[in-house]
Symmetry: C2
Subunit: 387 residues, 2 copies
């Protein structure tokens, strides 16, 4: 849309026109044949996008936090032990959430920008028997990416379920549920999945469903109780309608369109595109002398970039200047460094032109903030990295 400020935050992001058209189309009945087909197809496609062979997909009206809640409430019984691998704000959140449902949580946290090593995680797993290990694939507050494959492997070896918060990763970062033996992946619609906010999504392994079915106590949360939702998801996938709560018809319609686009692009191509866009963005930032929040290059996500302000640059003013230069960026979220950094989202429908516009706007805002750089130096570095 002409003259619109480009949305380059780590969710919500820019969405494809076909997805927005589907969202704004006249609503049909949640029991109409064409909607049943779209919902059933969306469930199948969600499983495919997660590269899961036999997982059970769920689509609920709600935010990504609701997806975290649905997984925590349904898997935790009072007294269960959970190991939370904490790489930022959303690790803190999962600790609070699991504790609410009665879990005894052990946190394994790294300093901001870091991540616990596999050795540290294995040591923790040796010391106690955990029912589940939670891991944030990409923590939106720090831009740190974790080693999902390595952690899922350890979890399996020590008899724990691996629960991956993929809110800022699914459909952008490589994530192979079946091949890597991941038990749960949860996400939200508004990031690389490419649909405006309002859907909580998750896929759970048969082993996880069995753990759920073996519960001895009722789920401590009414709305998200899988007892209600499992028959609904199974019915729609079998192309029948069934009622628990009114599905978010328009959002599900849009979800099906977006998942179709993702599969059409091809997951491998999509993962590589995200790596290339990320490399361009990070090269541009580096050329401007900006340092990343993640402490090592290999710990930095491909769906987003978290960058520290240079000394003397006021964050609030910088963000306003970037918006005036055409691009919405996000401020800090991690409480420890909230005012010291900003975040760029580059996922889903993002194209190289969007990244160049973003680096260009960052340059303008930096110059206006009296930070000395050569205009165009970031953009050209991004271009070179992309070519």
């Amino acid at each position: 849309m002409k003259n619109r400020t480009l949305l380059m935050i780590p969710g919500p992001i820019e969405f494809e026109p076909a997805v927005l058209s589907a969202l704004g189309a006249p609503t049909t009945s949640h029991t109409a044949a064409n909607f049943i087909e779209a919902f059933g197809q969306a469930l199948e496609r969600l499983r495919q996008v997660l590269l899961s062979e036999d997982g059970q997909p769920f689509v609920l009206a709600g935010s990504g936090t609701l997806a975290m809640d649905a997984v925590g409430a349904n898997l935790i019984e009072p007294g269960d032990r959970a190991l939370v691998i904490n790489t930022g704000y959303f690790g803190d959140r999962y600790t609070a959430l699991l504790t609410r449902y009665g879990a005894q949580v052990t946190q394994l946290a790294a300093p901001v920008g870091g991540r616990p090593s596999l050795d540290e995680i294995e040591d923790a797993l040796k010391r106690a028997a955990y029912k589940l290990v939670t891991l944030t694939h990409v923590d939106t507050s720090t831009g740190v990416i974790t080693d999902v494959r390595g952690v899922a492997d350890l979890a399996k070896r020590y008899g724990a379920l691996s629960v991956v918060d993929g809110v800022c990763s699914v459909a952008g970062e490589e994530l192979r549920m079946s091949a890597w033996g991941v038990d749960v992946v949860l996400t939200a619609s508004q990031k690389a999945v490419g649909v405006p906010p309002g859907l909580a999504l998750f896929v759970v392994s048969p082993r996880t469903l069995q753990v759920f079915k073996n519960r001895k106590t009722p789920v401590g949360n009414y709305y998200t109780d899988w007892t209600h939702w499992l028959p609904i998801m199974q019915a729609y996938e079998a192309r029948k309608s069934s009622y628990f709560a009114t599905p978010a018809v328009n959002l599900i319609w849009a979800l099906n369109v977006s998942l179709g686009q993702i599969l059409e692009e091809g997951l491998q191509t999509r993962f590589e595109r995200h790596r290339a866009l990320s490399a361009a963005c990070k090269a541009g930032a580096a050329a401007l002398g900006l340092s990343q929040v993640p402490q090592k290059p290999e710990w930095a996500a491909n769906t987003m970039t978290a960058l520290r302000y240079p000394a003397g640059v006021d964050g609030g003013e910088f963000l306003m200047r970037a918006a005036k230069a055409g691009v919405y960026l996000a401020g800090g979220l991690h409480p420890a460094i909230k005012n010291e950094y900003f975040r760029i989202g580059h996922m889903g429908a993002t194209k190289i032109g969007d990244v160049l516009a973003t680096i260009g706007a960052v340059e303008v805002a930096l110059v206006q903030s009296d930070y000395r750089i050569e205009l165009g130096s970031g953009v050209s570095a991004a271009q070179k990295a992309f070519l």
Copy 2:
């Protein structure tokens, strides 16, 4: 939209084109100035639509059941007594939900199509001290409307909070929160509020907020905990952004458009329009010899009509025939009579032409089901009632 099947179920309904356009517009940041203004305005307008002077509005991503959950989880502490006035499926649901959070629930249920009298409710209130009384304004499963004013009055007299499930009533049925002393009204977006499904909405009185603040135990549900949401709602209404979970940007944008249209029509005019459309629909049905599920005319809602099939008419085939004749109707939902009746929604954007098309389609489907009526007799009765 030309050649589209008209959606005349009790939610989701037909939506206004301007609302759908807002929903499908490119997404902006949840911290952008124009979104903060739209969200703040939507909160103010929600309070106005509920005719509340001092209530606290909440807008969450989720379904109407999530709104029920948010109210139940935040107000109930283990051992609290709740009185559920049960007029259908959603009364059963509230009993299950409140029990989940530890409430000792007393149900006051009427036979299907009936409703407990104010005398019976007062008798129940005399027998025990209840923390809250829940009431379904219009139970979507039966089409029964309850006396919110009378029950709120009794609840106040006996020191209980009155909690009204207004999912199938808000912005269609007369409901005056402050004047009637109602403590909580909860609803969803996809009925008379006029926005595709995906938003849980509620407004709570200052007294209710005080009861929440006096809790001695933590809320047994993470996502809906008002501790998280209250500062967010207060921030957006004060035209600042604040983060707990990503708001459903596009749906909130659409909500603000729809609430604006509702206030522009005027609430009194809107209540009267719903009464007139309902009278036309019910007159048409009566002329065809169809009887309503509600046992008395004054117990029947204005937002929907629940009608029993004549003897010999197969429900499944009838609904398919009605859809082929251009109108989606809903089957039964109440388990006791599920296959014996169908439901028509006439709320929100519904116009008299939609009601006439609906009665016309019902006539066609009845004739095709070998039920003898004179074609046009229902439609003309509806027209007469409307004129």
